[in-house]
Amino acid sequence: MTWLNILKHHRWKLGLLVLAANIGVLLNLAFGTPKAFHEWQWLDIIGEGGTALFVLLWLVLVLKSRPTGRVTNYLSIGLCCIFFSWWMDVLDEFIRLPKHLGWNHWLESGPMPVGMVLLTIGLYHWHREQQAINQQMEKRERIFREHRLFDKLTPLGGADYLKRQVSDCMAQSLEQQQPLSLLALDIDDFASLNQHYGHAEGDAVLQALSQLLLLNLRRHDLLCRLAGDRFVVLLPNTGESQARLLALELQQAVQSLAHKTRQHGERVYLSASTAVVMAFNEAPDELLKRLNLALARAKPVRSKRA
């Protein structure tokens, strides 16, 4: 989301927060007297002011990273209340209020529990939301998440994510005495597709393909994009013959995909080569290398579009 969008979507909440913070300042100034410089408690100012600033930073991060909605509202209003509480706390480091006033305690301590409750409700719903999203990430993610390893083009993990998963799965399959297979799929003549229809169309094909391949996989399989037009599927508890069957199915799925170009709606005919290897007792790098060499042997020699 851009900053402009954030301001547009959350203008009421943010406007109210600014207004409340200003009213707080004005009320303090109206009823109290400013403290002299030597009376300032630096430790308190830094502690309370710093906390207020951090809460503000969290608010910004939440608003910037999340789509609008119920959960975002809980989180942001909760953080607004907490910020306001700390803000009032900081103000009385600079302004002395008469002892007999009651409202200043309310302004200082009242919003805090409300904010905490709202934030907790928000976090709980966020947890539920995350579970729902995890379900959608099935076949694209296994146990471990690291956003820096996501592919930049397709909604899949990249090569580094795959390598990590391969070594984890190899250890696991050794432990459980279960076979582990790897499947590589590469689009035939992808370069000429790029030349023909442009690189943007090539990117669109890759994105469509990643969705298509996901649909054709089992729940516990993991699909990653290795590089370029080459995808790798990690197949736990799968022997070579079953993996070959899956490879064939994927190949057929790619062939029957009737992708249409974005500009003229032309049908793009695709075909794919696949290769399958079963993991032995070897280094993960070696396994991937073996898989890619097998794929190189499976590729047709002469391109069809020439």
């Binding site: 083009l153 690189h199 290795l226 590089a227």
Partner: protein, 344 residues
């Protein structure tokens, strides 16, 4: 002045912004990268590039590459850039490339018009009985960007030749640096047989592919485009970089190994100027001298099949121990190891 007596340097502004740089800019924009951030620190403006009037120096191009690499943050940037580079839309030189009758002509075009087609990296062609070798040399001191430029250039040559020939060509690539973390990008874009930790940055292919005819070409159109590209080079006033010219001179004089003073004289400048210019390109005279002599030694071993003694004699080493030491310094290997390595 003739083309051969002049050159471009790292700060010569001659690369049209709408040639190779635009290809990189388009790639970055297609990944939703902001054009201001992309051009930050390069002294370039997007509107000027679109206007077609901007000329970049190699240094500015390196700055642009550094920005693109950082903002794209992906291991495949150089390869994707390379796929889009050739034959390109760089005026008559690109037309000449497109009309090449076979791979040999295409390579000759890329090499001859390298100032237009590959200004950052110099390709050179060598032949023996079995293979054609294309090796690449740094034209302008790419330094941190050298690997990006090498990956892009080799990918460019490979994908251009496959596209224009209409077949999968069995190029094999070898890089002088150790195997990088993202080796799978090399497998997919340059082939599974890519080697690392070699002596040169080179690609080779069986010789018979050089002369296989390419489809849909016109000899006349190529001839005309070639002449037009030639006059474009004459307008520029040069066809190669200073490092390139220096390499050729040192290679031709490898037997004598001329000193800094003599070489500076050959290039009609003072020793201090040559030193300063080399420093600007991130290198120094001895490194260039060593590189040229190393390449001559490798050439004699590989292409001519010379023995250790013959190579030592050709390069005027009187003492075998001196030769061993020099070779070790140039390549990190002893003479016997080198010969074994080359026969692989």
């Amino acid at each position: 002045m003739s083309l051969d007596s002049r050159w471009y340097e790292a700060d010569t502004r001659f690369i049209p912004g709408h040639y190779q740089p635009a290809t990189l800019i388009d790639l970055a924009l297609s990944r939703d990268i902001d054009s201001h951030r992309l051009l930050r620190g390069t002294g370039l403006f997007y509107d000027d590039i679109v206007g077609g009037n901007t000329r970049l120096s190699p240094q500015q191009f390196f700055g642009l590459i550094a920005n693109a690499q950082r903002l794209l943050g992906a291991d495949d940037s150089s390869f994707l850039f390379g796929q889009r580079l050739l034959p390109g839309h760089y005026g008559p030189a690109s037309h000449a490339l497109q009309q090449a009758q076979n791979l040999h002509q295409a390579l000759e075009t890329v090499i001859h018009h390298r100032a237009l087609l590959s200004p950052l990296l110099t390709p050179r062609l060598l032949l023996d009985e079995r293979y054609a070798y294309v090796y690449w040399l740094d034209s302008c001191g790419a330094q941190e960007q050298l690997r990006f430029v090498q990956e892009a250039s080799m990918t460019a040559l490979k994908s251009m030749s496959q596209w224009l020939s209409g077949e999968r060509l069995p190029w094999e690539c070898s890089f002088s640096y150790p195997e990088p973390r993202y080796v799978e990008q090399y497998w997919v874009h340059l082939g599974e047989n890519t080697q690392f930790g070699g002596q040169l940055d080179l690609m080779r292919l069986p010789r018979e592919y050089l002369t296989r005819p390419w489809p849909n070409t016109s000899a006349i159109a190529r001839q005309v485009a070639h002449q037009q590209a030639q006059s474009q080079l004459h307008e520029l006033g040069f066809s190669a970089s200073l490092l390139d010219r220096l390499y050729v001179h040192l290679r031709d004089q490898a037997q004598r190994a001329p000193g800094l003073e003599e070489v500076a004289q050959h290039f009609a400048m003072s020793q201090a100027t040559l030193k300063r210019k080399l420093n600007k390109h991130g290198t120094h005279f001895q490194a260039q001298q060593d590189q040229a002599r190393k390449h001559v030694a490798l050439y004699l071993y590989q292409i001519k099949g010379f023995s250790n003694e013959a190579v030592a004699e050709y390069l005027n080493f009187n003492d075998p121990a001196n030769f061993r030491r020099a070779l070790k310094r140039w390549t990190g290997c002893t003479p016997n190891l080198i010969r074994k390595f080359m026969t692989l």
